[in-house]
């Protein structure tokens, strides 16, 4: 009885935190999508106030007491409550394991480095940048060690990784990346040799209003409910919010339309996951999305597996004929060819499906070494150039702007995030392979713009599970195996070497 009561108190506290997080979420959306420029100062102060209240409520002494009260207690042998408390502890521990002084120093050093980077990047000013970046790395190393002590991970970097990819260990990622490394550079060369010249061009004038209409119609087909969400524009596409109120943004360029559509499909995957988490666990850590490797698998499944498939491109071509006259001559096959062009380049965010993992692996190798103490900041440019050459055959020497200074992630110490992009792509391929196996008529359905069978499969295997399972248990239960590289490699070979779908 006592333990149930204590568990109830913890649930109430986490639901309070969830209501505060709701406020932060939509105020942040507004800041990026709606707020006029001069609202910035007051908005930042308000969000900081809410974050402060939230942190104080999570780290309050009574929460520690409640959690330790439950330590020795047999929780009715109820697996669900045990998992729920386990996830609460994880969230609590993440918030508690760093001294306030370190967090403050990190915020100051991180903002300084990011602010400097905004101009230094354009100026190709690596020497200027590392003055601010070295303290950021030093503080992140301290953070990683403290997190490692609290969580018992194998390495300091793995403790950082666990913030984003909890459950996916450094050794798992190493083995998946090793497999990719053995295949991708060679695959890339074969794709480039084999890839025919694209005779169609996407360059024309595509009015933004027509693109908006097209994006909305595509979202309808993808099962996005406009009574429970919005589509808006912002500088950088993102999705946020959750059940009942999912907010997607995209960015339009009147000279091209495929990128906006792909971005919207990507965000629709994120939004579908967040919007479909189970009502019964709303506001509790057990009810949240599993980790970023699973999250990114949902967005990449929607974008790479569904949207860019020949079948769905055929459906989109029909939509386009009715909505956007200037692209009405493009057939499904033309769209597919435009969408599956492979061109090795310097910039990660512009990379295609084949080269993207190579960009990520390069960053992973550098950032894990940096945090584990095997690599120093001064070593980065040479390592970057070597790896760009060996993985992608691209020369970045002397070009910091489009080389090791291109990403914002490291500037404020967000180490451990990059791998989720590629583990997400691998998970997406693995999940979709199983979906195709379960639904042999998948292409016919995608051709009709009907993805209900996919939503139902994901609802059953992923969305309804939230944090009930650890990430590898989740992949195992959904596909019969933990995360691996095989499905992604098979997918890339089928699409890019054999042009199958």
């Amino acid at each position: 009885m006592q333990s149930n009561n204590t568990y109830g108190k913890l649930c109430n506290r986490f639901k309070e935190l969830d209501r505060l997080q709701h406020a932060i979420t939509y105020l942040s959306w507004d800041q990026m999508v709606m707020m006029p420029a001069n609202g910035s100062q007051a908005r930042s102060e308000s969000i900081a106030e809410l974050a402060g209240i939230s942190h104080a409520k999570l780290t309050a002494p009574e929460v520690a007491d409640w959690l330790s009260e439950l330590e020795g207690v047999e929780l009715d042998a109820n697996q669900e409550i045990r998992t729920s408390v386990h996830e609460m502890k994880r969230v609590w521990s993440n918030a508690n394991c760093l001294p306030a002084e370190l967090v403050k120093e990190q915020i100051v050093a991180g903002s300084k480095c990011e602010m400097g980077w905004r101009t230094q990047r354009g100026d190709n000013d690596w020497q200027g940048f590392i003055k601010n970046f070295k303290p950021v790395v030093e503080l992140s190393r301290q953070e990683a060690k403290l997190r490692q002590q609290a969580s018992g991970t194998a390495t300091p970097y793995e403790a950082m990784l666990a913030l984003h990819c909890h459950g996916d260990t450094e050794s798992l990622i190493d083995s998946i990346f090793a497999e990719l490394r053995a295949v991708l550079p060679d695959l890339l060369q074969r794709v480039i040799e084999q890839q025919g010249a694209v005779s169609v061009s996407e360059k024309a004038n595509y009015p933004v209003a027509q693109q908006q209409q097209l994006n909305k119609e595509m979202l309808d087909a993808l099962g996005f409910d406009f009574n429970s969400g919005r589509l808006d524009q912002s500088m950088h596409p993102f999705s946020t919010g959750g059940a009942g109120d999912s907010r997607i943004t995209t960015r339009y360029d009147s000279s091209t339309f495929l990128e906006a559509l792909a971005g919207t499909a990507h965000e629709a995957g994120h939004a579908s996951y967040e919007g479909s988490l189970p009502e019964k666990w709303r506001g509790l850590p057990i009810g949240e999305s599993r980790n970023m490797c699973i999250h990114e698998s949902q967005s990449l499944l929607f974008e790479k597996q569904v949207f860019y498939s020949k079948a769905f491109m055929g459906f989109m071509a029909e939509k386009i004929q009715n909505t956007m006259p200037s692209a009405a001559h493009l057939r499904g096959d033309d769209l597919w060819r435009l969408g599956t062009q492979v061109v090795p380049g310097k910039i990660r965010v512009e990379a295609d499906e084949v080269t993207y993992p190579l960009h990520v692996m390069l960053r992973y190798e550098i950032e894990s070494g940096l945090i584990n103490g095997d690599i120093e900041v001064d070593d980065i440019p040479e390592l970057w150039n070597e790896k760009m050459q060996s993985l992608l055959g691209v020369d970045t020497r002397g070009d910091y702007t489009n080389g090791c200074m291109q990403d914002i992630h490291w500037t404020d110490g967000a180490f451990g995030y990059f791998p989720s992009y590629t583990i997400g792509a691998a998970n997406a391929a693995q999940l979709f392979a199983k979906i195709k196996q379960d639904h042999p008529d998948w292409q016919t359905q995608l051709q009709q713009g009907d993805i209900q069978f996919i939503r139902e499969w994901l609802q059953d295997k992923i969305w309804s599970k939230a944090c009930e399972l650890q990430s590898q248990e989740l992949m195992q239960s959904a596909t019969g195996a933990g995360s691996g590289a095989d499905a992604l490699i098979a997918h890339l070979e089928a699409r890019y070497l054999r042009g199958e779908y």
Copy 2:
């Protein structure tokens, strides 16, 4: 020293509350303007959480301690700090003088009554309505008595009035309304007799996109800065937010455009006041807008005195010629005639400038009697019908829908708000009379769409003062006299009997 330190603690607490209020403000804006329907539940819960945290921070024991520490202390003979503490006490006392149990009962009874009203109004169901309304009145009477005890007002109703119109007493309002009552019904009859038939018509098709453009251009002319604000659409026009981020909404109807423009001008007045309060007192009660009678004077000055003037209508006619072809034939005089039509009717929100005060006086007479215990709920319909007949010459017998059930205000106990509409109109006329006196060339400037001289005058006399002065001191310092009916009467006679501006 000790007292300064205590004052500093109070300032910090009120600034915290301001940051929480910021969150509530923009989350509420989003709820009304952006949020999809299914977001409602989570949003309400989040806002309630923030309101609860806010209330707890304001009513925490230490705030009472800090305020009483300052009771006996001579605050450096610093008038500004004395006023600041006085306003803090007022806000604190308003939040503290009701038992939590009563507040909870009021919320339950008020929601029930408002929810019922939403269908009962359309059903003309007075008997059904009063079942829910009588408990609301009973609880409001209790509230009023407790507030009277805490604030020492002359009557219970005056304590409710003070929530919205602090500083404007019941006896002041009685005397202004008595003067209006002696003049307006007769003035109304003369205007109706004299008013010629309007030969132009506003009925045509005015595309919403063109109207939006026109409203934005008008806001530019009115000095609204889109780097510090937005204009959007919502069911009911309103303005919210403050310095750096003012949010105005309006409502478009493609068969008419004057109403949307007038509404936008009205909200621009509110937004200009809130957006121009002094930076030095940001977040403190002394830095807030004075009261709703002053607030409404700013919106009505922008709407009735500026926007509907012949001079500004001339300016708008030129704008319209460039923006909205279907209204290009309308001259300034035509717009002015369309905007100054006087037609007595049953509905307050549709009322013109001449009849509006009569609608308000009727409600004031009934609600003050209701709260002071001189009138019972069952008396309302007969009183309503009598007053509509004697003040406006309109028969509302049997029509509850468009009679005493038309307003939402009373349903959840918002007694004491109505007078601000008409005291605001009187203040607006009085302020504008002084502006015209100080700027004899006012019509020339309005004709050019230049209202900078008005903004500067208001900045100097009203906006920069915030709560430094009590409301009647503020009117006195700005116009040389406290609030009165004379300027409003003179304005209505000049515009509606003599067609002067």
